[in-house]
Structures are given as structure tokens and as C-alpha cells.
Symmetry: C2
Subunit: 340 residues, 2 copies
């Protein structure tokens, strides 16, 4: 394995100083085009690439973006990661991820990324202790929140309009004649959980439908919560006509419980989800849901982040709100014959 070349070697071969090589490699304008061409030909002839470690050390920039998620194997985050990656590569950055599951204490996950010397961070995880974020903000560390907000703190973020997403789904259900609509969603501690519930509330209010506590279940954003919540609804005297699941995972649990109880969808009861993850699309699931456009979320988040990093001014003034996209499938059926 032949020894790795340095810019000095290239400089010698091209008959220039190593700084000229450095300038050429960094697209510095102050190099004559002939010199540039000569240097580049040597660079290409030897397939030279500058030592990334030296570069990072010297410039104090790693060109790495840290992605903090609760679990990279969750399809929502994985798609987010894809969007981030695409954009990052455009700017010649790389993505390093860390799942909070993979280190004992959640907070350690953040430290892992920080210790690695990332230039900026995307927080897609919602489980993180906020005081850590506050500290980063105080140090004006480049930072973008994705799929969550931090009430009371200015911080760049990219979110989906969760409230609107909920309202879109509710409107869709109303339009089909459904009135008795129950909801199963995640905790109001999370901005996503809170806002989707708000959308549900405000839609009912506008429609003049009383809000029934019996029709509201809050738990985790998982299948089990969907299953248990649905069991509860099924046993109600006045069973809901439709169930609004706070995300697709919950919707999975809803379908489980409904199938088990011999109830058909949408015949006996309609279901909507949230997120438009892969399985919602499957023919046997066929879930009407709303897309948060996680791929774009990731791409936009990285774009903002890289600009903060490169302009060395992180003013935390970027607040992007994506419009949710209604995806109509078969889980709500067509118009109900008669309003009850």
C-alpha cells in the first residue's frame, strides 16, 4: 500500500507551493486558470484527495452532521435520514446518526455525537431532556429541530402542521358523514401529540359536536396504545363511527383490535392514520392518512443547518412548517348513507 500523498507532494510535482494546491482544492478564486489547470491535472493523475482528518483538524470543521433519533429503524426516521443524506451530500457533508435506544442513558446519545465533533445537529428525537438543548442554544451551536418544537425557546425547526393535518383528516371524515369520531393519540407532552389533539378538538367545536371524554385516549405513539384504546371504544354504549389514530402505528393497533372483534373497516368503523409510512400503502391495510413529508423535512432541515454552519451565524430564526398531504385510501369508505 503506497504512502498517501499530501498536498506538498502534489505541489512539488506541479512546481508550485502547497498553498496553491490548497487553494485550488478549496476553489479559492485567487489562482490563475493556467496554474489551476496544471495543479488539477496532477491531482487527477494521482487521484489525490486531501487528508480529511488533517482538514477537519485544521479548519475545525468535520463536515459531519449529527442526526439524533429515538430509533433509526423506525421507518419515519429512516425516511427523514434519507432526505437529510441527499441534501447533505449536495454540500459535501456526511451524516452520522445516533439512536437514543443504543446508549444507556438518553442523554448519552447526544454526547456521543458531540464527542465525535459534528458541525451541527438535527434533533428528530422527541424524548430528549430540553435543558440539553437550551445549553446548546446558549452556545449558539448549529441546531435544527425536526418534527418537534421547543415551546418557549427560539430554535430553528422544521415541522409538519400537525394541527392542520388533524383538521384535514377530520374534515375528510365529516365530509363522508361521520360524526361520532374518537381519537387515540400520543402524549400531549410532545408537540405532535398536543397539536393533533388540538386539531381534533377544534374541528369538533367548529362542527358543533360535543367533545366526549370517552372518545379520547392518549398513550404512546405505538401499536399497543391503538389496540387497547380501540378495545375500550368497542365496548362503549355508543360506539364511535370512526377512529382517528394519532399515527400509523397506532392505526395498526386499531386495525388489529377491530379485526379481532370481527368489525370491518370501513363497513363498521372508519379509520384514519397519520404519517403515511410504507405499510399504510399496502393493499391489505389501505389506510387513509396524512403525509408529513418526512423526506422533505430532512432535506430542508439539513439545508437550514448547513447554512447556519457555514455562515457561522445561528440566529435560530428559521421556522418551516410543511403542509400535510391527505392520502385517501380505502379505510374510510364512501359517504355514509344516513347521519346518525
Amino acid at each position: 500500500m503506497k504512502k498517501k500523498l499530501t498536498i506538498r507532494d502534489i505541489a512539488n510535482m506541479a512546481g508550485v507551493s502547497h498553498m496553491t494546491v490548497s487553494r485550488v482544492l478549496n476553489d479559492d478564486s485567487r489562482v490563475s486558470s493556467e496554474t489551476r489547470a496544471r495543479v488539477l491535472s496532477v491531482v487527477r493523475a494521482h487521484n489525490f484527495t486531501p487528508n480529511p482528518k488533517a482538514r477537519a483538524f485544521s479548519s475545525n470543521k468535520s463536515r459531519i452532521i449529527g442526526l439524533l433519533v429515538s430509533d433509526i429503524s423506525n421507518p419515519f426516521y429512516a425516511e427523514l435520514a434519507r432526505g437529510m443524506e441527499e441534501k447533505a451530500h449536495e454540500y459535501d457533508y456526511n451524516i452520522m446518526f445516533c439512536s437514543e435506544l443504543s446508549v444507556d442513558k438518553e442523554q448519552e446519545a447526544l454526547n456521543f455525537l458531540l464527542k465525535a465533533g459534528v458541525d451541527g445537529l438535527v434533533f428528530a428525537s422527541v424524548r430528549l431532556n430540553d435543558s440539553r438543548i437550551e445549553r446548546l442554544i446558549k452556545e449558539s451551536f448549529p441546531l435544527v429541530l425536526v418534527n418537534r418544537e421547543l415551546p418557549g425557546h427560539a430554535c430553528d425547526h422544521v415541522v409538519c402542521n400537525n394541527r392542520k393535518g388533524a383538521r384535514i383528516l377530520m374534515k375528510h371524515l365529516f365530509g363522508l358523514g361521520y360524526q361520532r369520531i374518537a381519537i387515540i393519540t400520543g402524549s400531549s407532552d410532545l408537540s405532535t401529540g398536543l397539536q393533533r389533539l388540538e386539531g381534533y378538538h377544534s374541528s369538533l367545536r367548529e362542527k358543533g359536536i360535543a367533545i366526549k371524554a370517552d372518545y379520547i385516549v392518549q398513550g404512546a405513539f405505538d401499536r399497543e396504545t391503538g389496540y387497547n384504546g380501540t378495545r375500550r371504544f368497542i365496548n362503549l354504549d355508543e360506539r364511535p363511527q370512526a377512529i382517528f389514530a394519532g399515527n400509523d402505528y397506532i392505526a395498526m393497533g386499531v386495525l388489529d383490535a377491530l379485526d379481532e372483534a370481527g368489525l370491518t373497516v370501513p363497513g363498521d368503523i372508519a379509520v384514519v392514520g397519520f404519517d403515511n409510512t410504507h405499510f399504510a400503502a399496502h393493499r391489505r391495510i389501505n389506510l387513509t392518512t396524512v403525509s408529513q413529508r418526512q423526506y422533505e423535512m430532512g432535506a430542508i432541515g439539513v439545508d437550514i443547518l448547513i447554512h447556519s454552519i457555514e455562515q457561522a451565524k445561528t440566529d435560530y430564526q428559521h421556522h418551516v412548517v410543511l403542509e400535510p398531504l391527505l392520502i385517501i385510501r380505502e379505510s374510510c369508505g364512501h359517504r355514509l348513507q344516513a347521519a346518525h
Copy 2:
């Protein structure tokens, strides 16, 4: 934002030289325990962590493992990534990923990781031009292939016994009375595609069942291939009793086509998949399949890789073969009443 401390600052505060601090931080034994304690107390008091960029530069080790996949949002790879991450963090390494989708030319994806200065690579992607791998092997670059092999080249790899997995599924089908079994799988250019097909062939041969060309479809490992292949089978004079899908994605397409044609599973036709991805578990899919244990694959791959990196001897002698795990669900039903 207060200036970042260096080991020299710590050294001053502790009244020692920066080298002593360096030794303490690197667990070098040649430091008296009192000195060590004093240094550590200062380190902890200031929450000091050595500059990772300087460290990487100086040691020429980034403590980053590159993960090359065809698409990180594919759940198979995402779970692999989780397993890798868990193990990497144990050793204080980080994971940087790159999807081949995200750069124009597939080969660029590898360069992206290499340019970033990763210490080693996990190739989980199957689409890569093999000549690139050969070159890395020649340079004895730390490298582990996961979920694929490279025929004709010694290279560390961790794979599932695909042939055995196929045989397990076939045996399961035979045991239930199925004899006319068709297969839809990926290209034989991939070791996975080839070996699963081999398992299919050898099982039939042993059972003394003739291999019918009509019952074999090879394409991509995707849903469309499953759909199209199934349409073909449905129209056959002698329709197969069971379809062996080369992976769960293909199985999805199989189910699509079957549902569309009004055929029930397993009533009219049985289906098995491969991979045990999340959706296979869903009640409405309920696919009997085989797990490749991708999480363990990732963890084992990283373990091997880190040992290669740290021992600076990459002999490429590690070949781990994981035993596939049969996951029985409902897509094959119970014993057939009569053999045809």
C-alpha cells in the same frame, strides 16, 4: 461561548505536563495513581473532552465506521444499522451511512465514505461494482461484507444461510402437504438470490419433485416482481399450491396479485416470505417467513470490523453464517387435506 479547553489547560491546572494528561486520558499505565486521580478530578471538574478532530488527526483514526447500503430507508438495512450502532457505541465508535441512491453514480457513495476518512467499512449494499471492493482488499482496508459474499475473494463477511433458509421454508411447505411450489425471487447475480434459489432447487430434488421452469420467476427483490410473477402463475394450467417469495417485499406483491384475483391465502394458495420485516408481522399480512436476524448481523459485522481496525491486521478470515429462524404465521394454513 467559552473557549474550548485543551489538554494543556488541564495540565496547567493539575500542575503536570500535557503528556501526563494525554496518558491519563488514554489509559496509559505509566502514570502514578495519585497523579492520575489529580488529573481526572480536574478533567471532570471542567467536563473536559479531548478535541476529537485533533485526536483523529494525530492518531490517524476517526473512530468512524462507514455503512454503505442501497437505501437506508429500507427496513432491512435500518435494522442492520441499529445492530451496528449498538455494537459500535460499545467500542466508542460512530456510524456514518451512505445510501447508493443518494449520489448520482453508485460508486460515488463509496467515495463519499472514504473521503470522510472512515476507519472501516460495512458493505451491506449488493449493487456495488466488485472491482472497487477488490481494490480495497488489496490495500487491506478494514472491510466487512454483510448480507452478501464475494465469490472468488477472501473477505470477511456475515451472512445468513440463505440456502438453508430456503430449505427450511420448503420443508415447512412440504410438511403441510404442498407439492406444487413456485418461486419468485431476485437475480442470481446476488448471492442472496442465487442461494435461495439453490435451496429451492435442492429441496425439490430431494423430495423427488420435478422442477418446472414455469414455476420459477426471477426479477428484482421488489413488490412489482412479486405482483407480476404471481399474475403469471395464476394463469397457468396447473396453478401452484404455494408461492415462495424471495423476500418480504416480493411477498407483498404476491399478496396484492392474489387479493386482486380474489384468491385467498392460505385457502387457495399459500405464501412464504423471507426477511421477517416489520410488516410481515401484521395481523392482516401474517406472513410465514424466515428471519435473517439483521440486527445481529450488523452487530457481529461491526465487532469483526473493529477488531480488524484495532489489531491493524485484516486477514479477511472471518466468515460468519447465521442460522435463519423460521417464523410461522398464518399464510400457509394447516395441513392440506389431500395431496394432489
